[in-house]
Amino acid sequence: MSGSRHASMDRRTLLVAAAAGALATACATAEGLPSGEVAVLGDSTAWEKPMTAAGAAMKSVAALRLVPEVNPSLESFEQIVRSSLRTDKTPDMLKYWSGYRLQDLARTGGIEDLTGQWDRAAARGWVEPSLREAFTYRRRVYGLPMNLAYWVIFYNPQVFREHGIEAPQTWDGFLGACGRLKKAGITPLHGTAADRWPSFIWFQEILSRQDPRFYQDLMNGRERYTDPRAERALRTIASFFDKDWFTPMDLSHTDAAAALVRGTVGMVACGTWLGSTLAAAGGRPGKNLDAFVLPMADPGARPSVVFESSALVATVKGPDRTEALKATGTWLHPTVMKAFSHTLQDGCPNPKVAPANPVIAGLAEKVRGDRLWLLNRFWEQGPPELVEATVDDLAGFLLNPSSYRETLRTMQDRADDAWQVWREAEET
């Protein structure tokens, strides 16, 4: 009997403890990290090490350590950010996108105005000034640049040498290189609709080289997709299909990186962040791996290059708000930036920090030396909802290139609706 009584008491104690625990969890307020530590939520495991390195460097500069938290699923990362921003359970800091995606987030009032931090960094020459627009909403800055990836064409110099091809300096040189690779039995270009988002890559690359001003205006809702200049870009891509220059459209970037190193695919268009994937596939910068900026198709147009830069954002309701704001003040410090970008092996938004990767260092030199116009990537240009839908339209075009007129009409219909919604929201 006594045994069973004890057992029942134990059960009761356990139940009470469990109930108290559940209640405590339910009622708990958000607790941040211990003093001196700030968490940064991101969507990429590849950024975990660089963020830890930056955190360690920041410790020496500002007595603050950045602790990376990663949710590698893009979808659930966005859900967490959007659903938690209005609550006090939101992360302290985020790795987010620049451009319209950042504007969309700033609109909620849930993220901090970092204009002061930007201005102080700019005054010290710690940040590339032309990037400011990509992080601005209503003339205030809401994010600090983390990396600076250029959108370029990767190639294998050994393969090029074998077939007597040089990295093209002109548009005709690029077309010639494609032709020679094709003759040599190498698929000249990687094109893909796998994973959905890459469908925009060639449209972005061709359009920005044919008419960068038009690209910028179209992406910002000032021009129309039904314009002959947009049609010309799609016709150019369709002509590449006619010449059979593209890989199958379901070849992922990881497989394309391996194929480039192996020499079965000639050129891969991507952000310089693909460098780590190429290195993992056996690519050695300068030996069997190099990159060039796609030359301008119209020599009269302003020379340009597409860039991509993630934004470091501080939330208003995060539990360690004060420390997060302090961290943003030193984020662009050369010591922190060097630790971060050298571990990431990507370009750096702080011009005082030279990229560790020689390929990217060469590209950065060219971009700054030739004063190329930095255009933000398709993905960050335009209302997110519009971009999400138009990449599907572009995927449809890649699979049926003769449908370019229909694709552009559909894209314009979407753009009309999306810009109207965006502008209405802007007025409220």
Partner: protein
């Protein structure tokens, strides 16, 4: 003779009385509700946790979705729009394609894994090493849907194993861009899903086959039944109960197909391989059309409930309302 015991007054010795054995019919038990135990409400405290769980996890979200589907909601602001979301469904070509793909999944999943499962179970039943054969076929079922999808991705891409084999044996013209064009992307994924789902059906049918009484089979054999006639008139009717379960599960599984499609095509290219479950996910969580996504979810729920109910009602008339 369980008469009432009357006390024997004045008797010197107590009379042994046969005690009345109280017998209670369920009817009487129900009447005795005023007692401390056994009343109709007595079960309530025990059922409450279950009610609460079902209420919180199922009933509330369902009605919240119904309510949410009447709003134009982008996750931050929402405005009441009545049945607009449902009207939009009718005009949305992607929704139409999703419904069609969902129907293809239902038809495909009913035909392929159920037939293959039945066929394999019957063929390997009583076969020498049949158990081993069944085990091998069951193995894919032990792999998660996500891992299966990654595996099939190696096979179905343009440079994948399937096309390489086809080209290797000289069937170049048969090589296809399996995942890039509709309807072959949906059909290819149904085949991939069949590869995985067949195993469970084999197990269920094998259990059903073993439950067939030996006497029934022997009697049929004495009557001269064998082969196809035995299968058609003895085996198949005896497997009816198992078949009801297998087909019921196949319907529900096909309607909620998600992981395979998400990993192989993400519903693309150009949203061509989306099913209702994927459209709902994409609208709600990628495009933040929460109200519109709720409307799609409700249409899907209605289809799931209606098809399950119709199917079970048709297959199990005995469990319906009892006719007196």
């Amino acid at each position: 003779m369980t008469g009432t015991a009357t006390p024997a007054h004045g008797a010197t010795k107590p009379v042994r009385v046969r005690r009345r054995v109280p017998t209670r019919t369920p009817h009487q038990a129900a009447k005795a509700g005023g007692g401390r135990l056994g009343g109709p409400l007595a079960a309530l405290p025990w059922a409450l946790p279950a009610f609460a769980l079902v209420g919180v996890l199922l009933v509330y979200p369902f009605f919240r979705s119904v309510y949410g589907s009447l709003f134009e909601d982008n996750g931050f602001t929402s405005s009441y729009t009545g049945l607009d979301n449902y009207a939009r469904l009718a005009d949305d070509p992607v929704f139409g394609r999703s419904v069609l793909n969902t129907l293809m999944w239902v038809a495909g999943t009913l035909l392929l894994p159920v037939l293959a499962g039945l066929l394999i179970a019957v063929a390997t039943h009583r076969m020498r090493f049949g158990g081993i054969a069944q085990l091998i076929i069951v193995l894919p079922f032990a792999i998660s849907g996500a891992a299966t999808a990654v595996l099939w991705n190696f096979m179905l891409t343009s440079d994948g194993a399937v096309n390489q084999v086809l080209r290797g044996v000289g069937l170049d013209s048969w090589a296809q861009t399996w995942l890039l064009e509709w309807p072959q992307n949906t059909l290819a994924m149904i085949v991939a899903s069949t590869w995985q789902a067949t195993g469970l059906n084999v197990v269920l049918f094998a259990i059903g086959l073993r439950a067939i009484p030996r006497e029934t089979v022997e009697a049929a054999e004495l009557d001269g039944a064998s082969g196809w006639r035995m299968f058609r008139h003895i085996t198949l009717p005896q497997l009816r109960a198992v078949t009801v379960v297998v087909v019921g599960m196949a319907i529900v599984n096909s309607l909620k197909a998600f992981d395979m499609i998400w990993i192989l095509t993400k519903g693309g290219p150009s949203r061509s391989s989306e099913t209702l479950a994927l459209s709902m996910y994409r609208e709600t969580f990628r495009l933040f059309h929460v109200g519109y996504g709720s409307a799609i979810a409700l249409v899907l729920s209605a289809i799931v409930v209606a098809s399950s109910w119709m199917y079970l009602r048709h297959q199990m008339p005995d469990t319906g309302t009892a006719k007196s």
